[in-house]
Symmetry: C2
Subunit: 384 residues, 2 copies
């Protein structure tokens, strides 16, 4: 056994961080491919960074974000937030009173936990359903919530979307759309209209999901509601800070719908390529993955490593030899050792899939030679 306990997990992580830090400093950021799907974008020019630390820089970026954000999201006004969850909290603090009802329709359960949690905080009654026929809006409802596409990228049916908004507006109840990934997935890939154009009063998207922006939330919608929500946002410190606002602006400007469509196609092409040499890779919403057990069963060599160790050694070979970052080397203790190659990230857009496939095959061949030598495996995982 190589990675045996939390301490080993911390050690392998520190080794990975040090490898990556050295790579950026001594080689280049461009030759490193972060395919974790977990990294926030931060596009900023040196002169923008200089402007950032003046009083006016943030104001300039925020004003530009009004224009660019409304183009991306629709609505009358946008409000940049520290996270989509903070925007959901602020909306519920503003619009939902104690003992009122909040009802939520989404294509597939469960909803993002920040919605029920925020309702609980204000003592509201929350209910959610993915069965449209069961969906109804009871008396004393303060907010109707719709999820545009779920965490697993399941997209709402457009007719149901429209119908829920109609039902809410017939009773003069505001509609908040959790469009975390949906603001791009629904519109670009599924050709649906923007949530605000469908009549949503408030819509929120995650600026790090399916676009090269930073972790953060961008709210769009009716001016009057956003002005009210902004009061709560400032009171409780939920707003996005200037560097994030700059990165949101550049993230939206650099968002390329064709790349997004292409990454969905590329995922299938990539799986086809991998299937020439492997049998156990599986598709994810935005890429491919292989579990430690599945990876180990691809190895037709006898060895003494655990399945997780096989995954760690393989992912460290990918990192050290090819600068390909996946989650297992860098994850926190307790995380799964499943290896994912996410193709929706900006680094992935520049990757030639044939080339990536060759690097994976070559790393796998090295893995076969290494697994029989536990000392060498230990070295690659713990020593940079």
């Amino acid at each position: 056994m190589i990675v045996n306990n939390s301490l080993d997990e911390v050690k392998k992580r520190e080794n990975a961080l040090s490898i990556i830090k050295d790579w950026v400093l001594n080689k280049s950021r461009e030759s490193l491919y972060d395919l974790t799907g977990l990294s926030g974008g931060f596009i900023a020019s040196p002169s923008e960074i200089n402007l950032l630390e003046t009083y006016v820089g943030p104001a300039i970026f925020e004003e530009e974000l009004q224009k660019v954000g409304i183009e991306h999201m629709g609505g009358e006004k946008v409000l940049p937030l520290n996270r989509t969850s903070s925007g959901i909290l602020a909306t519920i603090l503003t619009l939902v009173g104690e003992n009122t009802n909040v009802v939520h329709y989404l294509a597939e359960l469960p909803a993002h936990p920040s919605i029920p949690r925020s309702c609980k905080l204000v003592n509201a009654n929350y209910s959610e359903t993915d069965n449209f026929d069961e969906f109804s809006i009871p008396e004393n409802t303060s907010l109707v919530v719709i999820t545009g596409s779920t965490m697993d990228h399941k997209v709402i049916d457009l007719d149901n979307f429209k119908r829920v908004i109609e039902m809410a507006h017939e009773k003069d109840i505001p509609v908040m759309v959790d469009d975390a990934s949906g603001a791009r997935l629904r519109t670009v890939v599924f050709n649906q209209p923007k949530a605000c154009d469908l009549g949503a009063d408030i819509s929120i998207t995650s600026t790090d999901k399916l676009m090269p922006g930073p972790r953060g939330g961008l709210m769009a919608g009716r001016s009057d509601l956003i002005d009210e929500i902004k009061v709560k946002v400032n009171q409780f410190g939920l707003e996005a800070q200037p560097p994030a606002i700059l990165a949101m602006l550049n993230g939206i400007k650099n968002f390329n719908g064709e790349n997004l469509i292409r990454s969905f196609d590329r995922k299938d092409d990539f799986l086809t390529l991998l299937n020439q040499n492997f049998t156990n890779f599986k598709a994810t919403p935005t890429g491919v993955m292989i579990t430690p057990g599945d990876l180990a069963s691809e190895l037709k060599v006898s060895h003494n490593l655990s399945d997780n160790d096989v995954a760690y050694v393989f992912s460290f070979i990918l990192l050290k030899e090819h600068g390909i970052i996946t989650i297992p080397p860098v994850s926190m203790p307790g995380a799964s050792a499943t290896i994912r190659f996410d193709l929706s990230t900006s680094d992935a857009f520049n990757l030639d899939l044939d080339d990536l496939n060759k690097k994976i095959v070559s790393s796998f061949n090295n893995l076969k030679k290494l697994v029989i030598n536990e000392d060498k495996c230990r070295e690659i995982v713990f020593t940079s």
Copy 2:
């Protein structure tokens, strides 16, 4: 009248933003002096910015912040937050139950509004006092709050500070210190110990106050409590994002206690210098200020401008001729036209006070010539 309504205020602001943007792009950031006291620091090297958008960059900065943050704040662990207000919210969400008491001692009323507001959110009973003899801890108290130094930089008496912590701990009640500016003001200028070293269970500081860091909050204290609070922080999106964490790290590293002490002395020196030519400048906690009325009464020329217009024209002369940014040119509609020169900002550390005084005197002499010509005044305020 020059600046007559909200639309004029928007126009003068847009003009100021455009002047400053051009200055940074065509001259340099170094020749611009932001003395608003409102700008957040963002110190970051190009290689750090590159690391920022990898999955590991944030992890590297966060790990380094643990070390540097504990040196600055004391305690067992630190937690970077989107704002000090978000940290206060998270602490109260975690530690304060419905119908329990929260009592707050501070050197001078009122407390920062985020404290009573967060208590109200969880339906707790909140009380605050600046009279130490009146301070007591009733039964059923869940949290004791202490403010290290107030928004006006009034610093708590050290004996009272220690006594309140003792009283709380005698009853096993945790103590949260709002040390927004105090973490530096109390320790560096007033030689008091760090809040955690005095026994505080949780202490929070604002990383943009009296140090060259970004807008944000840094919490320090007991590991077990911070781990609990972190759960709420992540659930509701209250954590600092990676660019802010990087800037906090560099802000603390670039914090210079001697500069801070010097800015307090310099404020008095500066007022003495200004008093050679003016009679109405006044000291603020971190610099000097003059109200529109006081500025107008310094003018011994007859003119038709309002007091506010005089302040706008003067502050635009400072900006256009000397690159000195004060609040009036860049403020949002409705803000006061009082001119403040804040000496606690990093830009101010590089300023020679004699030189700054000369620039103010020269701008004032130009103001005297300009006020009699309303068209020229209009031009300087509205045309870059």
